[in-house]
């Protein structure tokens, strides 16, 4: 299996504080990886570096073998990395369909956007996505009228509409009800069939649901351990980090 994402010796510091510290990480194409870790472990910074929002202080990020240093965010996005934010960031003043359509646009340069129209394949994609995320009945509703869970789903839909090779998902279950959480989990699992996914999550129920492959534990900006869910669960270092002591 080829590596879609490789991170070597990554360090990011803010005013002397090391948010990431010599982190090494790699992801196989087609893998769904869950990243967990206590607060302040550097999970969000990790996504920031990959998407170009934050520049690494040291080390490098390779996406499909290409170094992402100094590439602006929008180009990284076009290369095939999609990101879902912690709190859902959808365009509240646009309808659900418009939200999807905007991201679905194949040519994102200024003039094609201005003069172009959604072609049939794009329309089909949007229609299909609306079904996938279960919002086809609300397609013409303004996004600010959606519930929190619906917004989460919409944002995941927008991610997919971008047809990225790598999905970065930051706490997709935050603030959702149990039922919604399960829906989102199922959605992610179905997406994992055709995408590589990195998901950050706290909710252990949810992690268990989606962690079919490996789980990575971050701690203080570095990799603590990596492995299958039950391995990780019983790793004394992980327990130490989470509980402050080894269980008696």
């Amino acid at each position: 299996m080829s590596k879609i994402l490789e991170i070597e010796d990554l360090t990011v510091s803010f005013d002397g504080f090391k948010a990431l510290n010599n982190l090494n990480f790699s992801l196989d194409a087609g893998e769904l990886r869950v990243i967990i870790g206590p607060n302040g472990a550097g999970k969000t910074t990790f996504l920031d570096v990959i998407t170009g929002k934050v520049q690494p202080t040291k080390g490098r990020v390779l996406f499909k073998g290409k170094n992402l240093k100094k590439i602006p965010e929008y180009k990284i996005a076009r290369m095939g990395i999609g990101r879902k934010f912690q709190t859902p960031r959808v365009y509240l003043n646009l309808t659900v369909r418009e939200n999807l359509d905007l991201v679905c646009n194949r040519n994102k340069n200024v003039f094609p956007t201005l003069f172009g129209h959604a072609n049939n394949s794009e329309k089909r994609t949007v229609g299909g996505l609306l079904e996938t995320i279960g919002l086809d009945s609300k397609a013409n509703l303004q996004a600010n009228l959606l519930s929190h869970g619906e917004k989460q789903r919409l944002e995941i839909g927008m991610l997919v509409a971008q047809s990225p090779d790598l999905l970065l998902v930051d706490e997709p279950a935050a603030g959702l009800t149990d039922e919604e959480t399960e829906n989102v989990g199922a959605l992610l699992l179905s997406l994992a069939q055709s995408h590589s996914i990195v998901a950050i999550e706290h909710d252990m129920e949810f992690v268990r649901q989606i962690a079919t492959d490996k789980v990575t534990v971050l701690h203080q900006g570095a990799l603590l351990c990596e492995g299958k869910m039950d391995q990780v669960q019983n790793d004394p270092r992980v327990i130490e980090v989470y509980l402050g002591e080894t269980p008696e």
Binding site: A77, V110, T113, L114, S137, L141, S147
Partner: protein
């Protein structure tokens, strides 16, 4: 929320659309047909001027209402358009003769910048293109550094002051403070100030307003327009979706500048004079208040706002010149605090209440550093700072 409400909303949107179309047709009939027939010539000229100001308000709405860029420097583009046309009119002279004011400064040869304005088509092109290019350039220099928000506003304001100084100081080229007058010039051999020409300009203004309104409608309704709103609401998200906001902002700012240029040209011929004072700081901020009063992000609001505020100004400053500044100042305060969505916004949110009840009750942010504390924003700032 279920499917029925979705349909209801769609219906409501259709109804809104119908009402909008109706309003526009009614307005067109009033302005293009009825008014010229019933109103005395000089009042009509006044209305014509207001309508040309409404055009620039449309341009401001395009960038402020839809894209979230508050330009306080639109006077520049307005003036550039006005000067372009005025220069053409001033050149309607017998071969070899210079516009009269040049003699005041002992200028004997036509400055090169005037040369293209002999040609009418070139002039029309210039009055759209030049402001557009200037706006695009200013926009590019600012946006590429991700300078936005108030910084953008302040920089446009400073640019305005610079242009004002420059135009004021260049007596030998464009007659400095005195500006260029157009009333006594000829267009196609007819005196600009003659009633026929003025009426023609009025009609041209109404037509331009409609065309530019339609242009703005087109720009703001398609994918492009949705992207503008997206940039306004969440620029970072736009970037992560694979769009480069800089290009869009530059383009829309340039378009807005070009619209201001057209407005300036129409305003100039219906005023009879263009001077650098059109680039005074106050005038450009005033443009913003027209949009704010009408309701930003609504296009039609920009037109309504302009007409109302200008009419109020004419009435008030005719009757009580002292009061106008108080009134205008109060207008800024009221619009910002009580009517943040302007007249149109208020109407749609209360008139069609429930459908958009959220609009009027925009939640106020509790405190200012809440921005600073947003980790997303904070990190973005830090990245920018590091560059």
């Amino acid at each position: 929320m279920n499917n029925e409400t979705g349909i209801a909303i769609k219906k409501k949107q259709q109804r809104n659309k119908l009402i909008e179309t109706g309003t526009i047709i009614a307005l067109v009939i009033i302005f293009a047909v009825i008014l010229p027939a019933v109103i005395p010539a000089f009042r009509l000229r006044l209305i014509g001027r207001f309508l040309s100001l409404a055009i620039v308000a449309l341009g401001i709405d395009l960038i402020w209402g839809y894209t979230g860029l508050l330009s306080l420097g639109h006077g520049i583009f307005f003036a550039l358009g006005g000067y372009a046309l005025a220069m053409h009119l001033n050149l309607q002279l017998p071969e070899g003769q210079l516009p009269e004011f040049f003699t005041l400064y002992g200028v004997e040869e036509l400055p090169w910048v005037w040369q293209p304005f002999y040609s009418f088509p070139l002039t029309i092109l210039a009055l759209i293109i030049i402001p557009g290019i200037v706006a695009g350039l200013i926009g590019y220099l600012v946006f590429r550094n991700r300078i936005k928000g108030v910084y953008f506003s302040i920089l446009t304001q400073a640019a305005l002051l610079v242009f004002f100084n420059f135009f004021n100081g260049q007596q030998e080229i464009i007659n400095g403070t005195n500006g260029l007058k157009t009333d006594t010039e000829r267009i196609f051999g007819v005196l600009v100030s003659s009633p026929g020409v003025q009426r023609a300009f009025y009609i041209v203004t109404v037509i331009s307003l409609i065309l530019i309104y339609l242009l703005c409608r087109w720009l703001t309704s398609g994918r492009f327009g949705r992207l503008l709103k997206a940039i306004r609401d969440d620029e970072t998200r736009v970037r992560f979706s694979g769009y480069d906001p800089t290009g869009y902002k530059v383009l829309v700012f340039a378009i807005s500048g070009a619209i201001a240029g057209i407005a300036g040209a129409l305003y100039t011929v219906q005023t009879g004079i263009i001077t650098p004072s059109i680039m005074q700081v106050a005038f450009s901020i005033e443009m913003v208040i027209w949009v704010a009063v009408g309701g930003r992000g609504t296009l039609i609001g920009a037109i309504i706002g302009t007409m109302l505020v200008r009419l109020a100004q004419t009435f008030l400053s005719e009757s009580f010149p002292e009061i106008w500044l108080f009134f205008q100042g109060a207008l800024f305060l009221i619009v910002v605090t009580v009517l943040p969505d302007g007249i149109v916004g208020w109407w749609t949110s209360y008139g069609w209440h429930k459908s958009r009840s959220l609009l009027g009750l925009q939640p106020k942010l509790a405190t200012y550093p809440s921005l600073v504390e947003d980790p997303e924003l904070q990190q973005e700032r830090e990245t920018i700072a590091k560059k």
